[in-house]
Symmetry: C2
Subunit: 284 residues, 2 copies
C-alpha cells in the first residue's frame, strides 16, 4: 500500500509525506484535526490540512519562539501563550525556574486532548504546576487584562480559520496593553517566500510596528512549513533582542538542539528581499 499525505504550499506547489498509518481523524467546532505516523517525520498532526507539529522538527519552532525572548529578558515572570495547544511552547517555557506563571489560551480543547494522547513529548509542558489552561478565544481573553504579562507568545495557526483574529490590529493593541512596561510580544510571522504567506507577514509586521517602539523579525529553517523559511515577530516596549546578555543565558545550562546564543543575534539578519518586503509594508 502507498499512502501519501499532501499539503498544498501554494496552488502550484505540493509537499507530500509517505504515511505509515492515519491514527486519528476528528473534527471540533473550530477545525479538522488529523494525526499521522510517518517514517521521515515520525508522528505529526494537521489542522484543516496544514502541518502544525512533527516529532522530527518541532524542536526548531519551539526553541525559536521561546528562547529568543527568554534570553533577551531573563527576568520574565508572567507569560501568556495564545494557541499552542500542542504544549511544545509551554514545555520550553517550563524549563525556566524564574517563570512564576504561564497562562495558556487555546480556543480548541480538542487540540489539547489529542496532543495529550498522541504527543506526550510536546504536551508534557501542560503538566507543569505553573501552567493554567483556558479554553477561550485568545482575541477575547487578552482584552482588558491590565498590564499583567512580561511576555506574550502568539503561537497561532495561519491567519485564516480560527487563527484569523490573532493577526488583527485590535489584537495587537490589546496585547500591548496586557504587557508590563518590560513587555515582549513574540508571534509566528509566516513566511516571506510564497506570495500569500508574504502578504500575511507584511500585514502582521505593519500592524505590530504601529504599536511597539521595537519591532524586529527573525528567521528559522523549518522544513515542514511552506518553503522552509519561517519568520517570527519580536515586538517590545523596551528590550532590544540584539542587546542581550549571552553569558547569562548560557549559565542557565539549558540544552537546546536548535537555539544558541550565536544564532540569537544571527537570526535577526534577514536577506535583502525580506527586508524590502518588511519596509514596503510600512508604506502601505
Amino acid at each position: 500500500m502507498e499512502l501519501w499525505y499532501s499539503e498544498m504550499h501554494t496552488e502550484d506547489v505540493k509537499f507530500s509525506i509517505r504515511i505509515k498509518e492515519q491514527l486519528l481523524a476528528d473534527k471540533s467546532q473550530f477545525q479538522q484535526i488529523d494525526v499521522f505516523e510517518s517514517n521521515e517525520f515520525g508522528r505529526f498532526f494537521t489542522l484543516d490540512g496544514l502541518i502544525m507539529v512533527t516529532e522530527k522538527d518541532e524542536f526548531i519552532y519551539h526553541d525559536m519562539i521561546v528562547h529568543v525572548p527568554m534570553a533577551t529578558n531573563p527576568n520574565i515572570k508572567n507569560v501568556l501563550v495564545i494557541g499552542a495547544g500542542d504544549g511544545g511552547t509551554v514545555r520550553e517555557l517550563s524549563r525556566y525556574k524564574s517563570i512564576e506563571k504561564i497562562d495558556v489560551v487555546e480556543i480548541d480543547k480538542l487540540v489539547v486532548d489529542v496532543c495529550l494522547e498522541y504527543f506526550p513529548n510536546t504536551s508534557v509542558g501542560f503538566k507543569d504546576p505553573r501552567v493554567e489552561l483556558f479554553y477561550e478565544d485568545g482575541l477575547k481573553f487578552v482584552r482588558n487584562k491590565g498590564s499583567k504579562y512580561d511576555l506574550i507568545i502568539v503561537d497561532s495557526t495561519d491567519p485564516f480559520g480560527p487563527g484569523e483574529g490573532l493577526f488583527t490590529k485590535e489584537f495587537y493593541g490589546n496585547c500591548y496593553k496586557a504587557l508590563t512596561e518590560d513587555g515582549i510580544l513574540v508571534n509566528q510571522h509566516e513566511s516571506p517566500y510564497y506570495s500569500s504567506y508574504a502578504k500575511s507577514m507584511q500585514r502582521a509586521h505593519k500592524r505590530i510596528n504601529e504599536f511597539f517602539p521595537i519591532a524586529r523579525v527573525y528567521q528559522a529553517h523549518i522544513p515542514t512549513y511552506p518553503s522552509g523559511h519561517w519568520l517570527f515577530g519580536f515586538a517590545s516596549k523596551k528590550y532590544d533582542p540584539l542587546e542581550f546578555d549571552s553569558k547569562k543565558w548560557n549559565e542557565l545550562g539549558l540544552k537546546t538542539r536548535y537555539y544558541n546564543t550565536n544564532l540569537h543575534t544571527a537570526c535577526f539578519a534577514l536577506p535583502n528581499y525580506v527586508i524590502d518586503f518588511l519596509e514596503e509594508s510600512k508604506n502601505d
Copy 2:
C-alpha cells in the same frame, strides 16, 4: 490538464510543482536534462530528476556562493568555477571589476548549451570576456595546476552521478594545491536535515577539514532544494570570513536580493544540531 513535476527529497518525502509546459527533455553522455515552465518558480531545469536552477530562487544560491568569499577577500583576481554550467555563479562573479580571469570547468557541454538557450538570465555570465570555458572533468582539471587561483568555487551537483568525484579527498587535496596562499575554496555542502544529505555534508566537511586550517560552514534558505536548509563550505588558507571588511564590500555598491554584510556574518551561526553533526564528522 494537470501536469506535475515531482522530486523525491527522501524515499518518503515528495516535492511537486505544477507545470505549464515541458520545454525540453534531452540526454547527454553524463545525465538527463529537462526544462520546465511553471507558475510558481518560472522556468527551471533538472539534472537526473533533481532541481538545479529555478528563475524564482536562483539568486539565493548564487548570491551566497559568490559574495561570501568575494567580500572576505576583495583582492581575488583569479577564479576557478567547477560545475556551474548554468552561468549564475559566473554572472555574480563578473560584477567584480577586480577579477581578472574566471575559468569555468563544466563536464557537460549540454548543460551550458541548454542554459544559453533557455536561461538567458543566468547564462549571461558566460558572455564576460574574462570567462574561459573548459568542457572537462573538474576532478582532472584541478590536478597539477600549481598555485594559480585565489578562489575555487565548487558549484556541483550532489555527490552521486557526475558530481561524485567533486566530494573526494583527492579532489579537495588538489584544490588546496591549486590555490594561492591567500586561497579560498567554497563548495555547495548539501543539507543537514534529511539523513542522506546530512551524511554527504559530514563527509565533505571531514575531508575539507583535513586540508585547510580554516574550515567553516554557512547556511541559506533555498526553498527548492531538499528541506530548504542548504549549506555551503568555506575553506581557506588564511582568510577568516568572520573577520571581513563590510564597509569595503558595501562601497562597491552591488545590489543583491539575498546577500548583505549583516547576513555575511550571521549565516555562519548554525543551529546546535548542525554543529553537532559537523563535530561528529571529525571524530569518524
